[in-house]
Point group: D2
Chain length 304, copies 4
Amino acid sequence: MTELLLHMIEKHKKVTEEGKVANYIPELSKANPTDLGIYVLDNDGNEFFAGDYDKKFTVQSISKVVSLMLAILDNGEELVFSKVGMDPSGDPFNSIRKLETSSRRKPYNPMINAGAIVVSSMIKGVDVKDKFNRLLDFFKLITEDPTLDLNSRVYLSETETGNKNRSMGYFLKSENIIVGNVEEVLEIYFKQCSIDVTTKTIARLGLFLANEGKLSTGEEIITPRITRIVKTLMVTCGMYDSSGEFAVRVGLPSKSGVGGGIVSVIPHKMGIGVYSPSLDKKGNPIAGISLLEDLCNELKCRIF
Amino acid sequence: MTELLLHMIEKHKKVTEEGKVANYIPELSKANPTDLGIYVLDNDGNEFFAGDYDKKFTVQSISKVVSLMLAILDNGEELVFSKVGMDPSGDPFNSIRKLETSSRRKPYNPMINAGAIVVSSMIKGVDVKDKFNRLLDFFKLITEDPTLDLNSRVYLSETETGNKNRSMGYFLKSENIIVGNVEEVLEIYFKQCSIDVTTKTIARLGLFLANEGKLSTGEEIITPRITRIVKTLMVTCGMYDSSGEFAVRVGLPSKSGVGGGIVSVIPHKMGIGVYSPSLDKKGNPIAGISLLEDLCNELKCRIF
Amino acid sequence: MTELLLHMIEKHKKVTEEGKVANYIPELSKANPTDLGIYVLDNDGNEFFAGDYDKKFTVQSISKVVSLMLAILDNGEELVFSKVGMDPSGDPFNSIRKLETSSRRKPYNPMINAGAIVVSSMIKGVDVKDKFNRLLDFFKLITEDPTLDLNSRVYLSETETGNKNRSMGYFLKSENIIVGNVEEVLEIYFKQCSIDVTTKTIARLGLFLANEGKLSTGEEIITPRITRIVKTLMVTCGMYDSSGEFAVRVGLPSKSGVGGGIVSVIPHKMGIGVYSPSLDKKGNPIAGISLLEDLCNELKCRIF
Amino acid sequence: MTELLLHMIEKHKKVTEEGKVANYIPELSKANPTDLGIYVLDNDGNEFFAGDYDKKFTVQSISKVVSLMLAILDNGEELVFSKVGMDPSGDPFNSIRKLETSSRRKPYNPMINAGAIVVSSMIKGVDVKDKFNRLLDFFKLITEDPTLDLNSRVYLSETETGNKNRSMGYFLKSENIIVGNVEEVLEIYFKQCSIDVTTKTIARLGLFLANEGKLSTGEEIITPRITRIVKTLMVTCGMYDSSGEFAVRVGLPSKSGVGGGIVSVIPHKMGIGVYSPSLDKKGNPIAGISLLEDLCNELKCRIF
């Protein structure tokens, strides 16, 4: 397996040249575009890795998976999905139009920005600091990684440049979908996106989902049903508006982030974390996707 | 003429029952729905009025006409229209979708909220207070009414409930169409909407436009070309997305506000101010429009 | 006046180089891009002309003005405007999206293709041949030009390439806005667009509107109210989605066609016909517009 | 298993009252709204069924799965997906707007009407009759049901009422995505939707996909890769714009039709056919979905 991963990294490294690093946030543009790393964890406790597996990067949109689980724990499935849908939107991740043109004003799903902002608004806590800390603690718990922390420079960068997200926040507020203070909701959202991780953290998140919400100790943190909702949404909406093509090519519940990360889940078997900061035009890690496609062909692990 | 106006008020008073007072801003909902008043000023210095002509109401969207003139004076026609278009949008006044779906990201015209917010962002001044004061002073100058002032309760109400406008502001900021601080721009915008006027103030604004930018003293404040731009935009976009129907029915450059006001211009002849807080479904004063249609039939003053 | 026109033609001839001839219909692409001609008729029976005033071209969208008048005569204003709106759409002339996304499924106005197809479906007659002949006869009557006839090559070309119009026709049929046979409705529509005219024909159409529906003999063919509706729609929607900018620049009720024609109306005074087959990006005659703007500055004939 | 199915039919029968039979095609409105039937086929040759399992109904949109496989066989994957996408659209199945507003003019996926019409245009044959016969023969082959035939009354009904599909066809023609004669393409499309089936036919289609393109004899008709593409598209887009919610609730590759049918695939194990003509607001069989959700809970067969 390790050899396979080493071979894969080498083979797909050149694909990184076809994309480019995210530049809408100045801090993200500092990533090394040719980086490519992978971490695989299986149910028997084995760990395999290759390439730039230990580079730090911010979790970005992969955090949407984490906040969704906590919001459902905090509020119940019914309340959460009364404020955000379960369906693919067919539009780019930062699009606002569907909020206005759709008969239902709620965001289409929790994987696009508008939906994730609504989800963040539902995290419970006595104040904004407490809410974020609860989210960070939950993230540490399920990834069994107590070292997780905020990357302040990226957070600052997000805050300064996040006007489209701010626009969505106020739109959702005007529709009474967000009930609290918009700036506080955005603080949580921008902070959750700015948590530093490595491919190992992300692979653990994948394994947690693969094991239907159980830690490596066997302790169940969330119900299988919640993980099933999350994994389904990852399949249908996890890779922005190229989720459909990704499902054909890779066929695993996955979620990408513009920081370069991808988490993939092989149900009941493995969690995979990838780092590949060079992005395609839709904002997905370009070499990470081709590597995962190749790996799935080798491992014959597709769910379809 | 006075008799005609008295007759008109009486005749159209019952139309007020077909609409309802704006309720999205709590303060506006306190208006008396059956109020109906009119003020007509002509070039010879005659003044005619009837009904609730001396009630105070906030100018709301009629202020878009005033801020547009000042923004062109401050920045020149070219710069202003590089940031906002001249074309009808076909969408409701508070719509955001065109900002995203259109190939040109700038708002369609200065009469819809998004466009007017951009215009407000271009008023010059050392700080936000100075900018608003310059706008208020300009409004006083062209309406020859030194008593104009802010209605603080309405302004507070606007600020608290203006999240859709806030959403647009941040969207325009993210597209670099607004360059300054969004909250400051919105402060100016909300304040300009919250200036108290009477039908006489509004009629004076109409006469100023009818006289191609000249005061009653003959002094030219803005060029005929700027007034032509403003009057044209009033015809094509002044009554929100029912501007086309209004142009057929009334046929005068006009601008409405959700406070119940309408300013109408009979080129080279008259300025008309109407107050009619009961609104139709598109946000236009319902009895004010039927009154103006009837009056135009009598006066044979249509421009078409 | 003749000298002024000659000077104008010479001055704006070079503007033709900035556009290009319509090529979506093969026959139209055969026009000479540098052609530029004008014809002016006034109420005293004077005729002025210059440039390529006697070239034949197909009337194209200018026919929408003619069919609208006949449809109102045939069906009454109320019925016609129950099936087509009076408001600018803010979208390109051949756009279909608003038919679906708008709460009102009817086309926004009779000047965009979808609206004009609905109007054509309302022309009365025993069969499709009779309907078109009635339209052609009406066109001959109001332009006092008995020589008007169909350009069969252009008609054939329209039919073969008109699939977007066909798409709209079937959409409108599915919404029950068109009640008859779609192919027959399109036959009328494509034929009305394919009538050959010269600038003189078009100037006569303008004068007919300027005189509120009266022929040169003084005979009233349609009511002033119908001409007012038509002229208003020309101002707000006559130049596709640049109607707003045109209204500022030229300020006369006008309608363009992709064949290169423009009809303009100086109320109570003149009718103007322009031929300028080189089009701008929105499908309007590029040199024709700049010529009209210049001419209006000279004649001081703006309605605003 | 048979007992389980009988119990399920009885339990979910009352859900049929919450929906209603399709009425946009007169023939479809004749179905009995309380009908509910199911057929299950497994790899060992076992057959289980209950309820109205032997009622005939037209296959409608489930045929999109069949035509897609044949079109890929005829043209290759690359050519097919150059004309139709692989991504969910987020809009209703008969929506036209995305064809215009999207930067890519091709339909989002082969499961919405616009995409399926493009797919039908790619079926090979010497003439329209041959093309449809090839499609029918292929359908017979993979369902091992030589009795399949066209329901002429439904086909006639489809042709007469299919103007929205006709509208899409001409739009796609105008964009050069469809190259042939639109009426012929629609004939194939309307006919493929009008093939009579029973739940058994549909269950066989499901088993064929479950077995990665193999008949019960073991003969491989299409490659596993093609079936994977089809199954993935069924998950992400198979239940119109409620595909996301369905994936959470049921979690099996499935495709519904307005005739009341649903095909579901349990990979490597079973094919399921359901008949439930009472539809929910999005056009999906309402009792069929609740029955499948319940059954999947019992069988623990979800892919997520």
